[in-house]
Protein backbone atom coordinates (compact mmCIF):
# COMPACT_ATOMS: atom_id res chain seq x y z
CA UNK A 1 0.00 0.00 0.00
CA UNK A 2 2.88 2.33 0.86
CA UNK A 3 4.70 1.68 -2.41
CA UNK A 4 1.48 1.87 -4.43
CA UNK A 5 0.46 5.22 -2.97
CA UNK A 6 4.03 6.56 -3.45
CA UNK A 7 3.98 5.53 -7.09
CA UNK A 8 0.46 6.80 -7.77
CA UNK A 9 1.15 10.16 -6.17
CA UNK A 10 4.43 10.66 -8.06
CA UNK A 11 2.66 9.65 -11.27
CA UNK A 12 -0.13 12.15 -10.74
CA UNK A 13 2.41 14.85 -9.74
CA UNK A 14 4.30 14.46 -13.01
CA UNK A 15 1.18 13.95 -15.16
CA UNK A 16 -0.56 17.10 -13.92
CA UNK A 17 1.69 19.76 -15.57
CA UNK A 18 1.65 17.72 -18.75
CA UNK A 19 -2.15 17.48 -18.83
CA UNK A 20 -3.05 20.92 -17.47
CA UNK A 21 -0.15 23.14 -18.52
CA UNK A 22 -2.66 25.74 -19.73
CA UNK A 23 -3.89 26.23 -16.14
CA UNK A 24 -0.47 26.81 -14.56
CA UNK A 25 -0.25 30.14 -12.75
CA UNK A 26 3.19 29.88 -11.08
CA UNK A 27 5.77 27.05 -11.22
CA UNK A 28 4.16 24.16 -9.31
CA UNK A 29 0.90 26.07 -8.75
CA UNK A 30 -1.94 25.03 -11.02
CA UNK A 31 -5.61 26.04 -11.14
CA UNK A 32 -6.44 22.34 -11.67
CA UNK A 33 -4.25 20.29 -9.32
CA UNK A 34 -5.18 16.62 -9.58
CA UNK A 35 -2.44 15.34 -7.18
CA UNK A 36 -4.43 16.84 -4.30
CA UNK A 37 -7.37 14.69 -5.40
CA UNK A 38 -5.03 11.71 -5.43
CA UNK A 39 -3.88 12.67 -1.90
CA UNK A 40 -7.47 12.64 -0.62
CA UNK A 41 -8.26 9.42 -2.44
CA UNK A 42 -5.17 7.55 -1.19
CA UNK A 43 -5.73 8.73 2.38
CA UNK A 44 -9.35 7.59 2.16
CA UNK A 45 -8.52 4.21 0.65
CA UNK A 46 -5.31 3.24 2.42
CA UNK A 47 -5.46 5.36 5.59
CA UNK A 48 -2.16 5.87 7.42
CA UNK A 49 -0.10 3.88 4.90
CA UNK A 50 -1.48 5.89 2.01
CA UNK A 51 -0.56 9.12 3.81
CA UNK A 52 2.93 7.76 4.55
CA UNK A 53 3.44 6.93 0.86
CA UNK A 54 2.51 10.51 -0.10
CA UNK A 55 4.83 11.89 2.61
CA UNK A 56 7.73 9.80 1.27
CA UNK A 57 7.03 10.91 -2.31
CA UNK A 58 6.88 14.55 -1.14
CA UNK A 59 10.16 14.12 0.69
CA UNK A 60 11.84 12.72 -2.42
CA UNK A 61 10.52 15.60 -4.49
CA UNK A 62 11.03 18.48 -2.04
CA UNK A 63 14.54 17.36 -1.05
CA UNK A 64 15.71 18.65 -4.42
CA UNK A 65 13.41 21.66 -4.44
CA UNK A 66 14.46 23.05 -1.04
CA UNK A 67 17.84 21.42 -0.52
CA UNK A 68 19.11 24.49 1.36
CA UNK A 69 16.36 24.36 3.99
CA UNK A 70 15.77 20.89 5.51
CA UNK A 71 13.16 22.23 7.99
CA UNK A 72 10.97 23.59 5.20
CA UNK A 73 11.28 20.27 3.40
CA UNK A 74 10.33 18.38 6.58
CA UNK A 75 7.27 20.53 7.37
CA UNK A 76 6.13 20.35 3.73
CA UNK A 77 6.22 16.57 3.76
CA UNK A 78 4.19 16.54 6.98
CA UNK A 79 1.56 18.90 5.55
CA UNK A 80 1.52 17.25 2.16
CA UNK A 81 1.41 13.69 3.47
CA UNK A 82 -0.40 13.57 6.76
CA UNK A 83 -2.73 16.59 6.77
CA UNK A 84 -5.40 14.92 4.66
CA UNK A 85 -5.30 11.76 6.77
CA UNK A 86 -5.28 13.67 10.07
CA UNK A 87 -8.15 15.98 9.06
CA UNK A 88 -10.18 12.97 7.89
CA UNK A 89 -9.51 11.20 11.15
CA UNK A 90 -10.78 14.19 13.13
CA UNK A 91 -13.73 15.22 10.97
CA UNK A 92 -15.11 11.79 10.11
CA UNK A 93 -14.11 10.04 13.32
CA UNK A 94 -12.53 7.22 11.36
CA UNK A 95 -11.16 4.43 13.44
CA UNK A 96 -9.08 1.56 12.13
CA UNK A 97 -11.66 0.76 9.46
CA UNK A 98 -10.96 -0.59 5.99
CA UNK A 99 -11.07 1.60 2.89
CA UNK A 100 -14.58 0.38 1.99
CA UNK A 101 -15.88 1.22 5.44
CA UNK A 102 -14.38 4.71 5.22
CA UNK A 103 -16.03 5.31 1.84
CA UNK A 104 -19.36 4.03 3.16
CA UNK A 105 -19.31 6.71 5.86
CA UNK A 106 -19.11 9.50 3.29
CA UNK A 107 -22.16 11.18 1.78
CA UNK A 108 -21.95 14.08 -0.69
CA UNK A 109 -22.09 16.77 1.97
CA UNK A 110 -19.33 15.16 4.07
CA UNK A 111 -17.15 14.63 1.02
CA UNK A 112 -17.46 18.18 -0.37
CA UNK A 113 -17.03 19.66 3.12
CA UNK A 114 -13.93 17.57 3.64
CA UNK A 115 -12.50 18.51 0.22
CA UNK A 116 -12.95 22.21 1.02
CA UNK A 117 -11.36 21.86 4.46
CA UNK A 118 -8.39 19.92 3.13
CA UNK A 119 -7.78 22.38 0.29
CA UNK A 120 -7.79 25.18 2.85
CA UNK A 121 -5.37 23.41 5.22
CA UNK A 122 -3.00 22.36 2.44
CA UNK A 123 -2.80 25.71 0.64
CA UNK A 124 -2.55 27.67 3.89
CA UNK A 125 0.22 25.35 5.13
CA UNK A 126 2.22 25.67 1.92
CA UNK A 127 1.85 29.46 1.85
CA UNK A 128 2.90 29.70 5.51
CA UNK A 129 6.05 27.74 4.69
CA UNK A 130 6.73 30.05 1.75
CA UNK A 131 6.28 33.10 3.97
CA UNK A 132 8.57 31.70 6.71
CA UNK A 133 11.19 30.88 4.10
CA UNK A 134 11.14 34.56 3.24
CA UNK A 135 10.03 36.41 0.15
CA UNK A 136 13.43 35.99 -1.51
CA UNK A 137 13.10 32.23 -1.60
CA UNK A 138 9.51 32.57 -2.75
CA UNK A 139 10.51 34.95 -5.53
CA UNK A 140 13.16 32.56 -6.80
CA UNK A 141 10.47 29.90 -7.07
CA UNK A 142 8.23 32.29 -9.00
CA UNK A 143 5.70 32.95 -6.20
CA UNK A 144 5.71 36.72 -6.11
CA UNK A 145 2.51 37.57 -4.23
CA UNK A 146 1.64 35.23 -1.39
CA UNK A 147 -2.07 36.21 -1.49
CA UNK A 148 -2.33 35.28 -5.15
CA UNK A 149 -0.34 32.08 -4.58
CA UNK A 150 -2.68 31.09 -1.76
CA UNK A 151 -5.78 31.78 -3.89
CA UNK A 152 -4.38 29.88 -6.88
CA UNK A 153 -3.28 26.93 -4.70
CA UNK A 154 -6.63 26.75 -2.94
CA UNK A 155 -8.52 26.88 -6.25
CA UNK A 156 -6.29 24.20 -7.75
CA UNK A 157 -6.66 21.88 -4.78
CA UNK A 158 -10.43 22.36 -4.57
CA UNK A 159 -11.19 22.00 -8.28
CA UNK A 160 -8.63 19.22 -8.80
CA UNK A 161 -10.11 17.11 -6.03
CA UNK A 162 -13.72 17.79 -7.03
CA UNK A 163 -13.00 16.89 -10.66
CA UNK A 164 -10.99 13.79 -9.79
CA UNK A 165 -13.36 12.32 -7.21
CA UNK A 166 -16.53 13.01 -9.21
CA UNK A 167 -14.92 11.67 -12.40
CA UNK A 168 -14.04 8.51 -10.48
CA UNK A 169 -17.54 8.31 -9.11
CA UNK A 170 -19.02 8.61 -12.60
CA UNK A 171 -16.66 5.92 -13.89
CA UNK A 172 -17.68 3.62 -11.04
CA UNK A 173 -21.36 4.34 -11.69
CA UNK A 174 -21.02 3.65 -15.41
CA UNK A 175 -18.72 0.61 -15.32
CA UNK A 176 -19.08 -0.71 -11.81
CA UNK A 177 -21.90 -2.43 -10.03
CA UNK A 178 -24.98 -0.61 -8.83
CA UNK A 179 -23.85 1.69 -6.05
CA UNK A 180 -26.08 2.45 -3.11
CA UNK A 181 -27.03 6.09 -2.82
CA UNK A 182 -27.74 7.54 0.61
CA UNK A 183 -30.99 9.37 1.39
CA UNK A 184 -29.12 12.69 1.63
CA UNK A 185 -27.20 12.27 -1.59
CA UNK A 186 -28.14 15.07 -3.95
CA UNK A 187 -24.88 15.12 -5.89
Amino acid sequence: MLALSLLLWLLSWHANPWAFSFAEVYPGVNLLFLPHGMRVLLSLLFGFWGASGIAMASFLFHRNLWSDNPWASMITLLISGYCAWFAMKISLGLGNHSGDRRLEKLDSRSLIGLICLLALINSLGHVLILSTLGMKAAETQGHVKLNDTFAAMFTGDLLGTLIMLYALRMIIMVFGSKTKRGPNDGL
Binding site: D148, F154, T155
Partner: protein, 224 residues
Amino acid sequence: MMDSKLTDRENTTSRSGILQVSARSGLCFAIWITASLSHEWFLGFLHYRDGVDLLYLPHSLRIALVLAFGLSDALGMCIATATLILLAMAPDFTSPDVNLLSLMVTAAQVFIDKPSIFASLILQALASGCCGWLALRILVPSRQASYSGMLVNLDLKTILSVVTIASVTNSGVHAGAWLLLDADLGGASARFSVMLTGDVLGGVMGLVLITLNTRLFAREGKMT
Protein backbone atom coordinates in the same frame (compact mmCIF):
# COMPACT_ATOMS: atom_id res chain seq x y z
CA MET B 1 -72.29 32.05 -7.54
CA MET B 2 -70.09 29.51 -5.81
CA ASP B 3 -67.59 29.69 -8.70
CA SER B 4 -67.36 33.46 -8.57
CA LYS B 5 -66.74 33.33 -4.79
CA LEU B 6 -63.96 30.81 -5.31
CA THR B 7 -62.43 32.91 -8.07
CA ASP B 8 -62.50 35.98 -5.83
CA ARG B 9 -60.78 34.05 -3.05
CA GLU B 10 -58.19 32.67 -5.47
CA ASN B 11 -57.53 36.17 -6.81
CA THR B 12 -57.09 37.54 -3.29
CA THR B 13 -54.78 34.67 -2.37
CA SER B 14 -52.66 35.07 -5.49
CA ARG B 15 -52.55 38.86 -5.00
CA SER B 16 -51.38 38.49 -1.41
CA GLY B 17 -48.86 35.87 -2.59
CA ILE B 18 -47.43 38.28 -5.16
CA LEU B 19 -47.33 41.02 -2.53
CA GLN B 20 -45.47 38.72 -0.13
CA VAL B 21 -42.92 37.72 -2.77
CA SER B 22 -42.43 41.37 -3.76
CA ALA B 23 -41.95 42.41 -0.13
CA ARG B 24 -39.42 39.62 0.46
CA SER B 25 -37.57 40.44 -2.77
CA GLY B 26 -37.50 44.12 -1.80
CA LEU B 27 -36.12 43.25 1.62
CA CYS B 28 -33.44 41.01 0.09
CA PHE B 29 -32.59 43.78 -2.42
CA ALA B 30 -32.10 46.25 0.44
CA ILE B 31 -30.09 43.78 2.56
CA TRP B 32 -27.78 42.87 -0.34
CA ILE B 33 -27.12 46.50 -1.36
CA THR B 34 -26.43 47.43 2.30
CA ALA B 35 -24.17 44.41 2.84
CA SER B 36 -22.17 45.00 -0.36
CA LEU B 37 -21.63 48.69 0.35
CA SER B 38 -20.78 48.02 4.02
CA HIS B 39 -18.28 45.34 3.00
CA GLU B 40 -16.65 47.74 0.55
CA TRP B 41 -16.51 50.43 3.23
CA PHE B 42 -15.20 48.35 6.15
CA LEU B 43 -13.13 45.68 4.38
CA GLY B 44 -12.03 47.67 1.32
CA PHE B 45 -8.38 46.80 2.04
CA LEU B 46 -9.12 43.20 0.98
CA HIS B 47 -9.96 44.39 -2.53
CA TYR B 48 -8.17 42.60 -5.37
CA ARG B 49 -9.87 44.12 -8.41
CA ASP B 50 -13.38 45.44 -9.23
CA GLY B 51 -15.87 43.23 -7.46
CA VAL B 52 -13.25 40.68 -6.35
CA ASP B 53 -12.09 40.34 -2.74
CA LEU B 54 -9.87 37.88 -0.88
CA LEU B 55 -12.49 37.61 1.87
CA TYR B 56 -16.07 38.31 0.75
CA LEU B 57 -18.39 38.16 3.74
CA PRO B 58 -21.63 39.03 1.84
CA HIS B 59 -21.35 35.65 0.07
CA SER B 60 -22.77 34.05 3.22
CA LEU B 61 -25.94 36.11 2.72
CA ARG B 62 -26.52 34.44 -0.65
CA ILE B 63 -27.18 31.22 1.27
CA ALA B 64 -28.58 32.63 4.52
CA LEU B 65 -31.22 34.70 2.70
CA VAL B 66 -32.38 31.69 0.67
CA LEU B 67 -32.71 29.78 3.93
CA ALA B 68 -34.72 32.63 5.44
CA PHE B 69 -36.86 33.77 2.49
CA GLY B 70 -36.71 31.03 -0.16
CA LEU B 71 -36.60 31.62 -3.89
CA SER B 72 -37.86 35.23 -3.68
CA ASP B 73 -34.46 36.06 -2.24
CA ALA B 74 -32.83 35.07 -5.53
CA LEU B 75 -34.98 37.56 -7.46
CA GLY B 76 -34.15 40.42 -5.08
CA MET B 77 -30.45 39.61 -5.15
CA CYS B 78 -30.34 39.34 -8.97
CA ILE B 79 -31.87 42.82 -9.27
CA ALA B 80 -29.57 44.18 -6.54
CA THR B 81 -26.44 42.81 -8.27
CA ALA B 82 -27.54 44.21 -11.64
CA THR B 83 -28.16 47.60 -9.99
CA LEU B 84 -24.71 47.61 -8.34
CA ILE B 85 -22.99 46.73 -11.64
CA LEU B 86 -24.97 49.44 -13.45
CA LEU B 87 -23.98 51.99 -10.81
CA ALA B 88 -20.34 50.91 -11.10
CA MET B 89 -20.57 51.35 -14.88
CA ALA B 90 -21.74 54.96 -14.50
CA PRO B 91 -18.63 56.94 -13.50
CA ASP B 92 -20.40 60.31 -13.29
CA PHE B 93 -23.15 59.10 -10.96
CA THR B 94 -22.25 61.64 -8.27
CA SER B 95 -22.61 64.67 -10.53
CA PRO B 96 -25.80 66.70 -9.98
CA ASP B 97 -26.89 66.50 -13.65
CA VAL B 98 -27.38 62.76 -13.54
CA ASN B 99 -30.83 61.36 -12.82
CA LEU B 100 -32.36 57.89 -13.05
CA LEU B 101 -33.76 58.47 -16.54
CA SER B 102 -30.44 59.62 -18.00
CA LEU B 103 -28.71 56.61 -16.38
CA MET B 104 -31.23 54.22 -17.92
CA VAL B 105 -30.93 55.85 -21.35
CA THR B 106 -27.11 55.65 -21.18
CA ALA B 107 -27.27 51.98 -20.09
CA ALA B 108 -29.74 51.14 -22.89
CA GLN B 109 -27.43 52.77 -25.46
CA VAL B 110 -24.43 50.82 -24.16
CA PHE B 111 -26.39 47.56 -24.26
CA ILE B 112 -27.59 48.16 -27.83
CA ASP B 113 -24.08 49.05 -29.01
CA LYS B 114 -22.44 46.11 -27.24
CA PRO B 115 -24.82 43.21 -26.51
CA SER B 116 -21.96 41.28 -24.85
CA ILE B 117 -22.02 43.81 -21.97
CA PHE B 118 -25.73 43.11 -21.48
CA ALA B 119 -25.15 39.33 -21.59
CA SER B 120 -22.31 39.68 -19.09
CA LEU B 121 -24.52 41.75 -16.75
CA ILE B 122 -27.34 39.18 -16.90
CA LEU B 123 -24.90 36.29 -16.27
CA GLN B 124 -23.33 38.02 -13.27
CA ALA B 125 -26.72 38.94 -11.79
CA LEU B 126 -28.03 35.39 -12.23
CA ALA B 127 -24.88 33.84 -10.72
CA SER B 128 -24.94 36.16 -7.74
CA GLY B 129 -28.64 35.70 -7.06
CA CYS B 130 -29.14 32.02 -7.77
CA CYS B 131 -25.87 30.32 -6.70
CA GLY B 132 -26.97 29.88 -3.06
CA TRP B 133 -30.38 28.53 -4.04
CA LEU B 134 -28.80 26.19 -6.62
CA ALA B 135 -26.28 24.81 -4.10
CA LEU B 136 -29.05 24.13 -1.60
CA ARG B 137 -31.20 22.45 -4.25
CA ILE B 138 -28.26 20.20 -5.22
CA LEU B 139 -27.14 19.23 -1.73
CA VAL B 140 -30.34 19.24 0.33
CA PRO B 141 -32.94 16.60 -0.60
CA SER B 142 -35.63 17.84 -2.97
CA ARG B 143 -38.49 16.55 -0.82
CA GLN B 144 -37.50 19.13 1.77
CA ALA B 145 -39.40 21.92 0.01
CA SER B 146 -38.95 24.57 2.69
CA TYR B 147 -35.63 25.52 4.22
CA SER B 148 -37.21 27.34 7.16
CA GLY B 149 -35.68 26.28 10.46
CA MET B 150 -32.58 24.96 8.71
CA LEU B 151 -30.58 28.07 9.58
CA VAL B 152 -30.64 27.18 13.28
CA ASN B 153 -29.61 23.59 12.65
CA LEU B 154 -26.79 24.17 10.14
CA ASP B 155 -23.72 22.06 10.93
CA LEU B 156 -20.17 22.72 9.71
CA LYS B 157 -20.37 19.86 7.18
CA THR B 158 -23.42 21.40 5.48
CA ILE B 159 -21.98 24.92 5.65
CA LEU B 160 -18.70 23.85 4.01
CA SER B 161 -20.36 21.84 1.25
CA VAL B 162 -23.08 24.38 0.37
CA VAL B 163 -20.60 27.28 0.41
CA THR B 164 -18.18 25.32 -1.81
CA ILE B 165 -20.80 24.53 -4.47
CA ALA B 166 -22.21 28.08 -4.36
CA SER B 167 -18.71 29.59 -4.64
CA VAL B 168 -17.63 27.38 -7.54
CA THR B 169 -20.87 28.20 -9.41
CA ASN B 170 -20.68 31.93 -8.70
CA SER B 171 -17.01 32.43 -9.55
CA GLY B 172 -17.19 30.10 -12.58
CA VAL B 173 -20.10 31.99 -14.14
CA HIS B 174 -18.47 35.33 -13.28
CA ALA B 175 -15.25 34.20 -15.04
CA GLY B 176 -17.34 33.32 -18.11
CA ALA B 177 -18.98 36.76 -17.96
CA TRP B 178 -15.57 38.49 -17.78
CA LEU B 179 -14.38 36.48 -20.78
CA LEU B 180 -17.40 37.81 -22.69
CA LEU B 181 -16.16 41.34 -22.04
CA ASP B 182 -12.48 40.78 -22.88
CA ALA B 183 -10.62 37.67 -23.95
CA ASP B 184 -7.78 37.98 -21.43
CA LEU B 185 -7.70 34.41 -20.10
CA GLY B 186 -4.79 35.04 -17.71
CA GLY B 187 -6.49 37.96 -16.01
CA ALA B 188 -9.81 36.13 -15.80
CA SER B 189 -8.21 33.01 -14.26
CA ALA B 190 -6.36 35.06 -11.63
CA ARG B 191 -9.58 36.89 -10.74
CA PHE B 192 -11.46 33.58 -10.71
CA SER B 193 -9.09 32.01 -8.18
CA VAL B 194 -9.17 35.05 -5.89
CA MET B 195 -12.97 35.27 -6.16
CA LEU B 196 -13.41 31.57 -5.38
CA THR B 197 -11.12 31.83 -2.34
CA GLY B 198 -12.83 35.00 -1.15
CA ASP B 199 -16.29 33.48 -1.55
CA VAL B 200 -15.36 30.29 0.32
CA LEU B 201 -13.57 32.07 3.17
CA GLY B 202 -16.20 34.79 3.53
CA GLY B 203 -19.10 32.38 3.07
CA VAL B 204 -17.93 29.92 5.71
CA MET B 205 -16.97 32.66 8.18
CA GLY B 206 -20.22 34.58 7.67
CA LEU B 207 -22.49 31.52 7.82
CA VAL B 208 -20.83 30.25 11.00
CA LEU B 209 -21.40 33.68 12.60
CA ILE B 210 -25.01 33.88 11.36
CA THR B 211 -25.78 30.33 12.59
CA LEU B 212 -24.25 30.97 16.01
CA ASN B 213 -26.22 34.21 16.36
CA THR B 214 -29.45 32.54 15.24
CA ARG B 215 -28.94 29.76 17.78
CA LEU B 216 -28.24 32.30 20.51
CA PHE B 217 -31.42 34.27 19.71
CA ALA B 218 -33.48 31.06 19.44
CA ARG B 219 -32.23 29.94 22.86
CA GLU B 220 -32.97 33.34 24.41
CA GLY B 221 -36.43 33.32 22.84
CA LYS B 222 -37.15 29.91 24.38
CA MET B 223 -35.93 31.07 27.78
CA THR B 224 -38.21 34.12 27.80
